[in-house]
Symmetry: C2
Subunit: 352 residues, 2 copies
């Protein structure tokens, strides 16, 4: 519904691979001291010295991870960077560089890629990360984006998934579930648009959750916040596939169980209202919906006082002994087994 | 023609994304001291201290970069790693880690991915690089492989494309053109197979050039060789898209011209014989065919004696002043302008 039919079209073939990379990456300034050589050679050259290097990578496929019917290319570029930076944040590290590879079919003119790179540039500027490499090629169907993010941290700052102990507090940043409900609204509007292309939806009452879906942010601020609070989490992960799925990862790797409290889940009023409108259970959505890119971590019980009143952080439960398993404690004080129902990108692989 | 119709099939959906990653990466031992944390967290953690980090990335798409009709998955996995390691070699660095992301359609059972990872593992073992991360997801058509390679080198060891001076010698490792002619043989056999599926081609007379195409090697040995010869190249690049195209990159970035000598090109007899059989000009193939993954570099004239008798290295020309341009000096001693006709992956993007 956002597509502009009158856009000018420049064929990618005219530019060639190297002309294209050069054109798309020419306005990316170097912002990190650790970047010695950026785009333009066989490889980028980086310098970290005493700090450790953290590396994460993601592959985003049109029709699996995004739908260009409602994700504008600029937002998509921004989000693709954020998703990867979020993984660096989940190690309690500072994001410093990214590489971006794209494959596109001939459906995409140069102007579309410029828009995509506009979004990538916005994110690079906002998060102060350098675009240092990549690859452009053709695909037979649609758009494929592969991003590798690099970050740095001192060894003693890095937080793994496996460090949670028994009786740690389970903490989440921000609020959860919004991105998933934003997607539900966009999916609904897409169906309306397909029936009546002239409809002009008023989405203002969903602005927060739609932004959570289309233009999420990575919690690069949490590292400093925790430093200021003098709290060093015992384990950490980011919420990409859904809270329950991430809790399973943390607990499995840390060999602990956990109790999650339904009444503690941080939910935005717009998220709750939209769940009511869609007549679906907000707890189920908050636990299983993904793409919030908030951080989930555990802290020692003794750090409770430092965290409890912070508006950015919510204590949502605590770890237990591994043998006790993972449970949700409902508002009615019933203890039910927690299930990981996060998004499975492999459950959606019908060849067209 | 290599497809095994009786292979067993395990659906990827049953395993889920994390089960799949765990299954595919479980037999990859850590071989590099610099790998602190490998697969299994939000990001890998690496330690390089005084050495600089080099990073390169590539995206390989079925139908654009490879054809599963004649590229067995194991070879493809091996080659995908080699292609990326070659970029690290082109910086005169030591490859240390890779991340591998794949997207597959439901056409691929688990057993196919196991074969692909068999090849990846072979390459990791042979080149002593650690697989430290990745992503698996679904695609709507075919197989997509995205690899990021990481390497290390001291700052004064790193060689850029831009360092060639006027009157440097142009040197290439190994021989060139073979991979491209190997592809021509495979393409021909595929056509024969399509007409007569019972044909059993005898490819033994093409074994070298077919291996160059299906299972190339990265020249990790050249770094040590140059050290032993006490030669420090002024510029370097690897030959992925074709010699002429790479010469253009080196010369453009170094702001020099060059004379390339037709009679100096290192060609394997099997390559020459096959060109004759196909009735095509071997020089044209050697200059424009890609995927040899040999190294092309420039050295100072004073290093001539150190290099001239080395069986691994061939001096194929010299740089000139930029204003003189780039030329091929033919066997008949005619000077003709060199053209970059390297492979353009964007010239092949018809959406199906």
């Amino acid at each position: 519904m956002i597509e502009n039919k009158n856009q000018s079209r420049t064929s990618l073939e005219q530019l060639g691979e190297f002309g294209l990379i050069e054109h798309l990456t020419k306005d990316f300034p170097i912002q990190q001291e650790s970047t010695i050589k950026s785009v333009g050679d066989d490889a980028a050259v980086l310098s970290f010295e005493k700090e450790k290097v953290v590396v994460s990578t993601d592959l985003l496929i049109e029709g699996v991870h995004f739908d260009l019917a409602y994700a504008p290319l600029k937002h998509l570029g921004y989000k693709a960077v954020v998703v990867n930076i979020s993984d660096i944040c989940a190690m309690n590290a500072v994001p410093t560089q990214i590489t971006v590879s794209i494959a596109v079919s001939n459906r995409f003119p140069l102007e579309a890629l410029e828009e995509l790179y506009e979004g990538i540039k916005l994110a690079c500027n906002y998060y102060k990360v350098d675009l240092v490499g990549g690859d452009t090629t053709s695909s037979q169907t649609g758009l494929i984006i592969s991003i590798t993010a690099i970050g740095k941290a001192n060894e003693d700052e890095i937080i793994y998934r496996s460090g949670a102990g028994d009786n740690n507090l389970l903490v989440v940043s921000g609020d959860i579930g919004g991105a998933y409900m934003g997607l539900q609204v966009l999916e609904r509007e897409k169906q309306v648009f397909l029936v009546n292309p002239n409809s002009q939806p008023d989405l203002s009452m969903y602005d927060y959750i739609i932004e959570r879906q289309l233009k999420p942010e990575a919690r690069t601020d949490i590292r400093q916040l925790l430093k200021d609070l003098d709290v060093h989490p015992t384990s950490m992960i980011d919420i990409s596939d859904g809270l329950s799925s991430e809790i399973f990862h943390l607990c499995t790797q840390s060999k602990v169980g956990c109790n999650l409290y339904e009444d503690k889940l941080p939910l935005d009023p717009q998220f709750i209202n939209t769940c009511e409108e869609f007549n679906i259970d907000s707890t189920t959505m908050a636990i299983n919906g993904g793409e919030d890119y908030e951080l989930l971590f555990t802290i020692k019980m003794e750090d409770f006082e430092k965290v409890k009143a912070n508006p950015n952080l919510t204590i949502i439960g605590h770890t237990t002994q591994e043998s006790e398993g993972l449970h949700l404690i409902t508002r009615a004080n019933t203890k039910i087994p927690l299930k990981a129902r996060g998004w499975n990108p492999l459950a959606n692989n019908e060849e067209e």
